[in-house]
Each structure stands twice: as C-alpha cells, then as structure tokens.
Symmetry: C2
Subunit: 157 residues, 2 copies
C-alpha cells in the first residue's frame, strides 16, 4: 500500500512537474509526502504529518484531512478518535510536488494529541550553542484533556 501511486499522474519532466497543471506527487521511498496543516484563521502551523497516496486522494475527495500514521502504519482520518476533524479550506502543492500545505478549520479544541491547539508549543532559543538549548513553552496551555479524549490511545492522533 505505501508504494501505491494511487490515481495520480506519473511524474513528468522537471518543467512539467513545476510549471504544469497535473498533480503528480513525489512520494518518498516509504510512499509518503509531507503535509503541513495551518489554521485557516490565525495562520499558525498546527501540525506536520504525512500522507500516502490513499490519504492524499481521500483528503482531496472529501475535503477532510486524512493522514498516514508512520508509527501505526495505517491510514488515519484526523479526528477519528478525538472528533477533532480538520475541514480543508484550501490545499496547495509545492514546486517539486513532495509537500502539501492545507489550510484547515480545526474542529474541537486542538490538533495535538498532547492537548494543545498546535503541536508547536515550544520555542527553541536562537543564538546560543545548540547543545545548550533549553526549550521555552509558548502558547502551550492545554486546550483539552488528552486522557479524557484519547484514553490510552493518546499517541499521534
């Protein structure tokens, strides 16, 4: 399944891939493209995940975000456990078609399985030695109780 190119166009020349109108994603060795989900309102990055051909096709066809969980090796409808589905307002693809950007309306309190709105709730200070970094929590208030929402399944949702 990860190797299934799905219903998409075969890869053409660089010019066709970059300047054309055919969707011909460049799936990696594991059959995945990277997907960035941002909040359609505030614009912040909510999460980064992966899509295989089936997840990408279902997202396009349904207008709801589907991903492929690398840890569980399974197709995954965002919100299937939590109810925190993502309605896709706009999807973009990048120049070489190995990354997708979706602007989403995030249902429920948040996108992150830790209970935050965004997975990116810690800042990395700049200008110091990388080995001496201490992360700073930022926009890190819990928006929901992950134990209540996910129970013991609280991973990578």
């Amino acid at each position: 399944m990860p190797d299934d190119p799905g219903p998409f166009a075969p890869r053409g020349s660089t010019a066709e891939v970059e300047e054309g109108r055919l969707l011909s994603p460049k799936f990696d060795a594991d059959g995945l493209v990277t997907c960035v989900a941002t909040d359609a309102g505030g614009g912040e990055v909510l999460m980064v995940a992966h899509m295989n051909a089936a997840a990408l096709a279902r997202t396009i066809e349904t207008g709801e975000a589907w991903y492929f969980s690398r840890s569980r090796q399974a197709l995954w409808r965002k919100g299937e456990t939590s109810g925190h589905v993502q309605r896709v307002v706009e999807m973009r693809i990048d120049c070489d078609q190995d990354a997708v950007w979706i602007k989403v309306e995030q249902a429920g309190a948040g996108a992150c399985h830790t209970g935050r709105r965004s997975c990116f709730y810690r800042a990395v200070p700049l200008g110091a030695r990388a080995g001496a970094v201490t992360l700073e929590f930022r926009d890190a208030d819990k928006a929901f109780d992950p134990q209540a929402v996910y129970g013991d399944r609280g991973k990578a949702r």
Copy 2:
C-alpha cells in the same frame, strides 16, 4: 554525517520528549527532521525542507536558515547562491520533536527556486476525483528571474 546526532540531547521517554525542556530531535533513517518555513510577516508557508543535525545546529547558532539538500546530499545555507537568505525570527519544535517550524524574514524576492515568493503557488481543487485534478496557479507571479539569479544551478535552492 547524516547519522550524526550532533550536539543534541539523547531521546528520553515520551513524557520527557513531549513535556520536557531538552531539545532531542527525532532524526529519521536519513538523519533528517522536516522544517517548515513561514513568512514572519504574512504567515504564509514559504517552503518545506529538511535539516540534518548540522543544519539544525547552525540555524540555532546563527539565526539564519540552513538546510540539508537531499538531492545534492549537502549542507546548504539558504540563499548562498541567490542571496535570498532567511533570518529566523522564531523557531518552534513539535510534540515528538521530528519537525521544526521557523518563522523567517525572507531576504530578496522569494524563497522558491522557480522565482516565486513561496514554493506553494498551485492549489489543488477539492471535492472532485483525485485522479481528475487540474492544478490552479495562485499567488504564482514570478518575483524574480531564476535564470538570472541561479543560472544553471537553478535547482532546489
């Protein structure tokens, strides 16, 4: 080099990785984390690229974006050819520490080697059969002439 964990903390328990203050990135089998660069002003996604341990460390230490080019298998200072460097205003790391989000001030006309401001200059229409998609150019005006800026090196800069 791709397997070099660099100066970062070893991976701890899930709770330590997700709720702690140590930077302990989860590099993939190729030694990379995903990096999303957004415009610090407008908020749009400019590009998605990868960092190995050395690129991540240099970005943290210099406050300018460094990446690892998978196609060229080389450490890469963004803008080294084009002058279109990225000054990092803020760096975030996600829950499981396998993705980085940087908010950048993009020097020069754009981030994309095709001459656009963003690599995400095409939209994927939603609600139709995935196999029948025709991409729509959006925010796709060329901000600079890639041939003039990159010459024959115009790939993946």
